[in-house]
């Protein structure tokens, strides 16, 4: 039926596609074979950042092509790459502080608090808030607020202060994880035990066991998954 289809414009070109498809599948239906602009196809990688404009609207909106359903009259352009700046550093030489953030990304101090980044985010992340947290040196907050970021690049493309929020967030999270959250003692203890060879003998015995012996041990092992 005619009502089962919508019209979309991919880079200006008109296509009739079944409604209810994601932008990604609609583009494939229309004959595209993605090279750039498709990745995990499940909302985890940020490869398919897309700008679109709705019928009759002047507004540019952002979405992941794999997560957004096409609408009649939608005009679509993918932004599969953003020439954003990424500073290089040696994490082990840094201090977890606001000055580190400012040293590598001084442009965060130019944040206008306009919230355009947050509006552009297809993950509904409070981007401006984490940029502000990083600027204050509140690495815990910056980490928490930015954690679900998939670095699709849409915030950076839209930011009038030329900030690359996701690269700022990556630095903030690594600083927080290494220096503030820190290592779990149980991991360090177990590594030491393994290095001392504490488990070698038992594993050696299991490696030599017959399939029947192993199955017997496996089937009779105690299962303790209580908290």
């Amino acid at each position: 039926m005619e009502s089962d289809y919508v019209t979309i414009y991919v880079l200006g070109k008109k296509h009739k596609v079944p409604k209810d498809l994601t932008i990604m599948k609609a583009m494939e239906y229309a004959g595209h074979q993605f090279r750039r602009g498709a990745g995990c196809r499940g909302g985890f990688c940020g490869a398919c950042a897309t700008l679109y404009r709705r019928k009759g609207s002047y507004k540019l909106e952002g979405a992941l092509a794999c997560q957004k359903i096409v609408e009649d009259g939608m005009v679509i352009a993918q932004i599969p790459f953003s020439p954003a700046a990424k500073k290089t550093y040696r994490l082990e030489e840094l201090k977890p502080s606001a000055s580190t953030i400012l040293e590598y990304y001084p442009e965060v101090s130019r944040c206008l608090s306009c919230n355009t980044c947050t509006k552009a985010c297809p993950q509904d992340i409070m981007v401006m808030d984490y940029v502000q947290a990083a600027l204050r040196g509140d690495l815990a907050k910056a980490t928490e607020l930015s954690f679900d970021c998939i670095s699709c690049g849409l915030c950076a493309v839209r930011c009038p202060a030329e900030i690359v929020p996701y690269n700022v967030a990556q630095l903030a999270r690594r600083l927080y994880a290494r220096y503030i959250d820190g290592p779990a003692q149980q991991v360090l203890d177990r590594v030491e035990e393994v290095e001392k060879g504490v488990y070698d003998e038992e594993i050696e015995r299991l490696k030599k066991a017959s399939k029947e012996e192993l199955a017997q041990l496996y089937n009779s092992r105690e299962i303790d998954i209580s908290e």
């Binding site: 499940g42 980490t143 594993i203």
Partner: protein, 550 residues
């Protein structure tokens, strides 16, 4: 339900009501795990691996006779996409010590460890078919196993891996997997990976299917994303080169029979480029996008099994390719996300699989092959599935239990990705269950390696999903994430040591021509070419689902 409008069609409401009515009495209810005999029976009756008409024996090469899915045999019994006579191997564009093919978890780990082992960044090259980090590694949600809990040990982990893999695993590989596990977590924490912790600073651990202890470390339900982006950041910081949108399509050898780099294909320009290397590490991932038996897949767009093809033509051996992992819980509805992963951690935190009548029908943490078989049986053997508008079957995964059992806010905190992805299609998984069916998830078998990541072909190393042996014929949740880093690191170290001594001779593609002669000698007549590099979804194929179930 007050103001909440169900995200499911009207005709499913009756079944949803039964799920809701029975929820209270299912809390804390323990469905007995199957006996070893019951497990074997359900696998034989319902697991896709046991559909012998969906497999054939390979007709060519050193593993001639090896049983594998038709889709995998199709890419191995195929002509090279390259015409060796049209390539000028004298025009060497990249000349490095260590070439890493693939920039997922295994490849990035290998590159970093090669650098740590004394190979300068400028003498390491990563090539990647799509973008850096575009890999299944990044899509892992639920977690990574490592035996560091006080009541756990590498010995118990070893037993779980072997039993889960039905004892087909290579015990040497399993030993290093479980012993290196804690070291990998330590390395991640040093690099700035943020694992979920309890208030006292200890690891927050969850169980997985077939684990006898809580051993699953997680980063919310973005575990793979968090680890991969840190490794990417570290790789860029070290200024290790990565050429993106450039696929390796055949290995290059020299007159001594060593692998000495790879022939690359630039996806932007359709031009071939020559990369010469003293050591080459294959880390191209799996084959989910081959859609074995027509199954939908959780896999990345680039998971087309390229590495298997290249390695086999170069003389590497293959193992366990008869076994494929179907994840028990892929999305069955809504249509837009069919086949995508619903992490096993949902069950680890209390979600139950229930049928159309609201009955719990299986222990939620059986190993993946058994759990998947039980869901297929419920739909096709017992007629207790729910049919979607497109004719697919599924059962409910009762997620609201997670917040009831662990406290309100748990789903929002620990399953941000699942909550977000479903809410985009009008379903709130805190209030309504997910509709799920098994989905093609992982290549259990692959290229045979030893504990150093050596393939047996001099100069060629491999790590990650492209390899087989460590997981036997069924992988446990969280062990592929671990496998990436354990064997990626090992391959990186070993490749670096070799590169310090190795000398490379004159480059050749003679092995590709020899493979061509083998195909002819075995009477394989086909116009198929491989590696295929990209799956084909253009036109009507964008709408296809046809699982060859019944």
């Amino acid at each position: 339900m007050s103001d909440y409008v169900s995200g499911y069609p009207d005709y499913m409401q009756e079944s949803l009501r039964r799920v809701e009515e029975t929820r209270e009495e299912r809390i804390g209810k323990r469905f007995p795990p199957m006996t070893p005999e019951e497990r074997q029976r359900i696998l034989e009756e319902y697991h896709p691996d046991w559909r012998m008409d969906q497999k054939r024996r390979l007709r060519v090469g050193p593993d001639k006779g090896l049983l594998m899915p038709h889709e995998v045999a199709d890419i191995l019994e195929a002509h090279s996409m390259v015409d060796p006579s049209a390539i000028d191997l004298g025009d060497v564009e990249f000349d490095v010590d260590v070439l890493v093919i693939g920039a997922g978890g295994a490849g990035l780990s290998a590159a970093i460890l090669a650098n740590d082992s004394g190979i300068p960044a400028e003498n390491i090259l990563i090539v990647q078919k799509l973008r850096m980090g575009d890999a299944n590694s990044k899509m892992s949600q639920g977690g990574i196993q490592a035996a560091d809990a006080p009541n756990d040990s590498p010995v118990l982990h070893f037993l779980d891996v072997m039993g889960g893999g039905h004892y087909y695993n290579d015990p040497e590989l399993v030993e290093v997997l479980v012993k290196d596990g804690p070291e990998v977590i330590k390395w991640h924490e040093e690099l700035g990976v943020l694992y979920d912790k309890l208030p006292d600073g200890s690891m927050q651990l969850a169980p997985g299917g077939g684990t006898c202890r809580r051993r699953m470390h997680s980063c919310k339900d973005y575990t793979g994303l968090e680890i991969t982006r840190v490794l990417m950041d570290e790789t860029v910081n070290r200024e290790i080169g990565c050429v993106e949108f450039t696929a390796a399509v055949e290995f290059l050898k020299d007159e001594y029979g060593q692998v000495a780099g790879a022939l690359l294909y630039d996806l932007d320009s359709d031009v071939y480029r020559v990369a010469r290397a003293k050591s080459t590490i294959l880390a191209t991932g799996g084959f989910g996008r081959l859609h074995i038996q027509g199954y939908e897949t959780t896999n990345h767009y680039g998971a087309t099994g390229d590495g298997l093809v290249m390695a086999y033509r170069a003389g590497a051996r293959l193992v366990h390719l008869d076994s494929t992992q179907f994840h028990p819980t892929g999305s069955a509805y809504p249509e837009q996300i069919v086949g995508q992963l619903c992490t096993e951690k949902l069950r680890g935190r209390g979600a139950q699989p229930v049928n159309a009548d609201g009955e719990l029908f299986v222990y939620p943490l059986e190993t993946r092959d058994v759990e998947a078989s039980a869901i297929i049986r419920e739909c096709y053997g017992r007629g207790k599935g729910i049919k979607t508008p497109t004719g697919m079957m599924g059962v409910w995964l009762d997620t609201p239990l997670i917040d009831i059992i662990n406290g309100e806010g748990t789903i929002e905190r620990e399953f941000a990705a699942m909550l977000r992805n479903y809410s985009k299609f009008g379903i709130d998984i805190r209030r309504e269950p997910m509709l799920v069916f098994p989905t093609l998830h992982y290549q259990n078998g692959g290229v045979k390696i030893n504990v150093k990541g050596e393939t047996g072909v001099p100069g060629l190393y491999a790590a990650g999903e492209v390899c087989g042996g460590v997981h036997g014929k069924n992988r446990l949740m969280g062990n592929s994430q671990l496998d990436l880093y354990v064997f990626g690191r090992r391959a990186g170290r070993a490749a670096a040591e070799r590169a310090k001594k190795a000398r490379v001779g004159k480059l050749t593609l003679e092995h590709v021509e020899a493979y061509e002669r083998m195909l002819a000698a075995e009477g394989v007549e086909t116009d198929r070419r491989s590696p295929i590099l990209l799956p084909e979804y253009r036109g009507k194929r964008a709408l296809e689902h046809h699982i060859k179930l019944v």
